[in-house]
Symmetry: C2
DNA sequence: TTGTAAGCGTTATCAG
DNA sequence: CTGATAACGCTTACAA
């Protein structure tokens, strides 16, 4: 009975199979280069020993890890879950492993995490949105690590992105809402500093207001973090200081669900007393009552395309090419049309 | 302008600082062993070069990665988010990094993921629940990788666990419900095969029924995956085949929220027409209307204690010691008492 | 087709 | 306190 059992190495396999370590290595990485016979022998040894290649040694020798890092703002809610899931599945299909890291929306934590992923040998990086210290992009360029931005599309940016036009998406949505007669508009957004997605969505609402002859500054905006509670609190604050508000546009479904809860706490009926909208169209949008009218984001396609593009950037050693995806409006029941002027109380 | 810039190494730093690589290494791992003067010189070089230690090389040489792997059933909903967040924070505090991997509830994918984490040099592993192929535990023991089970506590199991008694928690909860007069009980559970938590919760309900003189077999049970939609569908199936059901106990908040949606789709009022309960007490439990009566799980404490214990197992090279945490019942509004016999329609 | 051997970037032991 | 130098486990020219 071996008292000091330790993980078997290439060497052990080689010895057992009666071949050199190079052959075992080839058997793993380039099986076709071996005789069927030796291949079988090696495979048998591997199996018998329960050998698993040592990742660190492998990546050090090959200078490749087949690992891709993703940094997301939060894992706490499902906003990024579906897209990331699709990203991961596509990566898997292409032989890559995903390493996720979340910043908890602390933008200054991002740099540290990025360096960590690079130190761990990530072959490429996926990040959410464009906004970040330029030094980070410089560092990545110097390290020759490809980056792809997602959840946002902006051809003006230097970093390639696969996502959607947050501003246009929100503008179209807001225009539809305005066409329904709403004039007293409130908005709950995630903190917009260091968050181009949030900023663009706000800008989109203002664009629409302007188009409809409303002064963009009359938008009653409140910025908060990203939880249900934040949404509920913000909603209450908003309605208290501006009771004649007829609709509250939220920067995300999570905030919107929170807002609906806030309305319930205040005894307001949605959408009879006040309309509420979301953004993202995550599963959650369908569990509230009423269900959420929101902007549908093509999470799955986005994740899949991002994976394909990032892998291509790595393997073909080329610049990434940006892609703009379309969003759609999903009407569900949290929005009512305005027929006559409503007076606050 | 350096045309072929590549990541700086220990060697580069050493050269620039005019010291040996050993000194640079010490500066990173054992700064006190250096003169203040040399330390400053090295630090300056590190800073100037923007040096980051290579993870693979480091873990190969040190045979330690300060990385801990966690395998969770899903990232798609928030069930594990809070606990994992706390786990991660505590790990961080102790100088470890967390690597998460999700199986999407495909239990046969778990072994592959575990091997992967081990190959990546995880110093320890956190897994959810006890149920898995014994071969996995053997493998881990042979590889000398400490494992800790969480989300479940069972002193009868060989693997140490920090969690709660799923069966007892559910029994106590069900007893309370029965005391309210409910006799026609339905239950929606996650698939219980390979999932001791789900199985124990079901058993807990049956225990309570027995105590109250009900035949445990009359429990109308339906097992489904884990999404909102699964919960909604299951609820509808349940109520159709057994319209006189007065309460539906769900194995998780996610399923319960789905069930509430199912009730809404069927035009049933909760809790007037039918009561619905959850399990976990995640944030979601407070966004539905009515809010969910559920079993509160001490996610945060659990994650924190698990991190502390696992790190101790690694650093002190000792067996883990199990801990049972308490759960509590949170009454919110989705449960009503039964006053008279209700007849299905 | 297979083997030999030189790295890959650290850490750690042992001298000095 | 600091410096050589031998691992660590694998990949990959280069030879045979």
């Amino acid at each position: 009975m071996p008292a000091n059992e330790t993980a078997p190495t290439l060497d052990d396999v080689a010895r057992m199979a009666g071949v050199s370590t190079a052959t075992v290595s080839r058997c793993l990485n380039d099986p076709d280069k071996l005789t069927k016979d030796t291949r079988m022998r090696v495979l048998a040894a591997i199996d018998k020993l329960g050998y698993t290649p040592n990742f660190a040694a492998r990546s050090m020798a090959a200078k490749r890890t087949f690992t891709i890092g993703a940094i997301i703002p939060t894992m706490e809610n499902a906003i990024f879950a579906r897209g990331l899931q699709a990203f991961q599945e596509e990566l898997d299909r292409r032989g890559y492993t995903l390493l996720v890291s979340s910043t908890a929306y602390k933008t200054d934590a991002e740099e540290k995490q990025i360096r960590n992923l690079v130190a761990r040998g990530a072959d490429g990086l996926l990040v959410i949105g464009h906004d970040r210290d330029p030094a980070i992009y410089d560092y990545l360029k110097q390290q020759r690590v490809p980056v792809l931005v997602t959840w946002s599309y902006d051809k003006a940016e230097a970093t390639p992105s696969i996502g959607f036009d947050n501003r246009a998406a929100m503008r179209v949505f807001a225009e539809k809402v305005l066409a329904l007669g709403h004039r007293r508009i409130g908005m709950i957004s995630s903190t917009s500093a260091q968050n181009d997605r949030a900023r663009m969505r706000i800008a989109g609402v203002r664009d629409a207001m302007e188009t409809h002859g409303l002064e963009p500054d009359t938008l009653d905006l409140i910025e908060v973090p990203y939880t249900f509670d934040d949404g509920a609190d913000a909603f209450i604050t908003l309605m208290r200081r501006n009771p004649e508000t007829t609709i509250v546009l939220c920067g995300s479904d999570v905030l919107a669900v929170g807002a609906i809860r806030g309305a319930r706490l205040m005894g307001l009926r949605v959408p009879d007393d006040v309309s509420i909208t979301g953004f993202d169209d995550i599963e959650l949008a369908q569990v509230t009552s009423p269900e959420l009218t929101t902007v549908h984001v093509p999470h799955h396609t986005m994740g899949q395309m991002a994976a394909a593009e990032l892998v291509a950037m790595i393997e073909e050693k080329r610049e990434g090419v940006s892609q703009k995806l379309a969003t759609t409006i999903v009407e569900r029941g949290s929005v009512a049309a305005i027929t006559k002027t409503k007076t606050g109380g």
